[in-house]
């Protein structure tokens, strides 16, 4: 070994786990995202009594790969009047922002890129929210539709970003820290997921994360009914592919933030109840159950994936020297399970609810959700004060303050409805509100 190799080896020795995690995330997330899109299409098809993608092999499982390759091989069209530099950067920013914000997160107790960043969750939401700059740069396509849509979408995302941030402040109030690991440890220490101590904050974050991930029913960005993704009108092929990776990664980011802050991160249900320690075997057991079901239903491809997952989970039991990996694997199972449930909720909402008009969702954020989030923050603070300093019962305090917050919500909605009823009638379509 030459002397010049020493720094490289030292570097690899110090950072190998971070490098491995980074490589896995960069390599796997685009693929995973393609399959989130496939699950969405299949789920929509199921709820609408259609078949969904079945054209390609393995019951449509190759559909995502096929459409990705199709996008990648398309002719690269640069509109004549576009600003070359802006147009080049437009697809990179949403994708890079969403993926980089993943690096601040923990996917289970062991799987992370960066160890204990001091501003943890603030880093994740801060970098993640930069992705709307990609929309704003859509102006570079020099296309009237794109610029008008870019401004409208940015206004919406900025408004709901404040709502989401205020909801996160309520969660941080409970944890008392911004570090991801410390937030989850705080939920272990208080032996309760923060969703139960601040249910209204979780609800507000749920609503605000929908436009944050450009999802129906609150998106102006990709309004299928009348505009059809104007902000991406000039982008095609590979650039559209990068934009879509950014959008779907954003879903994973908001779901992970909600999971970490409100749903207990990688903790199993009832982490402090020792007679439920058997739940530590639940991941392997559930995966075996899923494999059996898939074999019974003759879904061979899914069964194969489940079987590989089962092997990964059973490996530490066969080779005891690998048993240090058990908490990490179980944590990753619970974390990804909660994230998947959150993403499934997004898919479900997209199919079940009609899209809001632009003025309606701006009213919702500014006149209902922002005051509600501020009031909720105050009442969460009051609840902590009563419980920790005056020693009142936690559940009594939580339910009373939640009831107060819900009363404020009812008052805000009533007030808003009365003003709408008394004022001018709403415009017929948001395409008139520029």
């Amino acid at each position: 070994m030459s002397h010049a190799d020493q720094p490289v080896l030292l570097f690899l020795h110090a950072w190998w786990s971070q490098l491995a995690c980074a490589l896995v995330i960069v390599a796997l997330v685009p693929l995973l995202v393609a399959y989130v899109a496939l699950v969405e299409r299949k789920g929509m098809a199921r709820l609408q009594s259609r078949m969904g993608p079945i054209d390609h092999d393995l019951k449509g499982l190759l559909e995502s790969l096929a459409s990705s390759v199709k996008l990648l091989l398309k002719e690269d069209i640069v509109p004549r009047d576009s600003d070359a530099l802006l147009f080049w950067f437009t697809p990179i920013i949403p994708m890079a922002a969403a993926l980089i914000s993943l690096s601040g997160l923990y996917f289970g107790p062991a799987f992370r890129v960066a160890e204990d960043i001091n501003i943890g969750i603030l880093f994740v939401i801060g970098i993640g929210s930069l992705s709307f700059l990609g929309l704003l740069l859509g102006v570079g396509a020099s296309n009237g539709h794109t610029s008008s849509d870019a401004i409208g979408s940015s206004a919406q995302i900025v408004s709901y970003g404040i709502v989401a941030a205020l909801a996160i402040v309520s969660g941080v109030l409970l944890s008392g820290t911004l570090k991801i690991r410390a937030i989850v440890d705080a939920q272990l220490e208080h032996s309760v997921w923060f969703i139960f101590l601040a249910p209204v904050a979780f609800f507000i974050y749920c609503v605000a994360s929908i436009p944050g991930a450009y999802r129906s029913p609150f998106h102006r960005h990709e309004s299928e009914c009348e505009r059809k993704a104007w902000s991406m009108a000039g982008t095609g092929g590979l650039r559209l592919f990068l934009c879509l990776i950014g959008e779907y990664t954003n879903i994973i980011v908001v779901a992970s933030v909600a999971t970490t802050l409100f749903l207990g991160g990688w903790l199993r249900p009832f982490p402090n109840v020792h007679w439920l320690d058997g739940l530590d075997f639940a991941p392997a057991f559930l995966l075996v159950l899923a494999t059996t079901y898939c074999i019974y239903k003759r879904k061979r491809a899914v069964a194969l994936v489940c079987f590989i997952a089962v092997l990964i989970f059973l490996l530490p039991w066969i080779l005891p020297s690998l048993s240090f990996a058990v908490p990490g694997l179980n944590g990753a199972f619970w974390f990804l399970g909660k994230v998947s449930a959150y993403i499934y909720m997004f898919i479900w909402l997209r199919i079940h609810l009609p899209r809001y008009r632009f003025d309606q969702h701006m009213h919702l954020s500014w006149q209902v959700l922002i005051p509600l989030a501020i009031v909720n923050l105050f009442f969460v603070g009051v609840a902590i004060f009563l419980e920790a300093e005056l020693g009142w019962n936690r559940w009594l305090v939580t339910s009373v303050t939640t009831l107060f917050t819900l009363a404020v919500l009812g008052f805000l909605i009533r007030w808003h409805d009365q003003r709408i009823a008394a004022g001018t009638p709403a415009l017929p379509s948001d395409s008139y509100v520029r």
């Binding site: 980089i100 160890e115 001091n118 401004i151 900025v158 941030a165 941080v172 920790a388 509100v433």
Partner: protein, 123 residues
């Protein structure tokens, strides 16, 4: 503490390399682009956006108001991080009064904005 951000930097380089590599690699694989650069998409008249009126002044309101509320959120975040420690020091009541004072100022501003109609979209 900056050392903790080093993996993030490496990760960011990986992420940024991904689209650049994809754009470069597929440039050689995909079919040749046509000679004529494409015009505007989706039947937009080629008149430098003349068909599109300038954006409504509402968007400027949203920009300014959202900056105010973002800064307020940052102050609230700092308060929220310290709050548990204050409660442990038995000075949570003082912290709550301070918060109420801050929120009252914010509320006055909010009501003023509301009266001015800055938060209305259909007027």
């Amino acid at each position: 503490m900056p050392a903790n951000y080093f993996p993030v930097l490496i990760f960011a380089l990986f992420v940024l390399a991904f689209p650049v590599a994809a754009l470069l690699v597929f440039k050689f694989i995909r079919p040749e682009s046509s000679d004529d650069p494409a015009g505007p998409q989706e039947s937009v008249p080629d008149e430098e956006g003349k068909v599109h009126p300038p954006p409504s002044s509402r968007f400027y309101f949203v920009a300014v108001v959202s900056v105010i509320f973002s800064v307020a959120t940052v102050f609230l975040l700092l308060w929220a991080i310290r709050y548990r420690a204050w409660v442990a020091d038995h000075s949570g009541g003082v912290a709550l009064v301070a918060l109420s004072f801050f929120l009252a100022i914010l509320l006055v501003g909010y009501i003023w904005l509301y009266k001015k109609g800055a938060l209305e979209w259909t007027r």
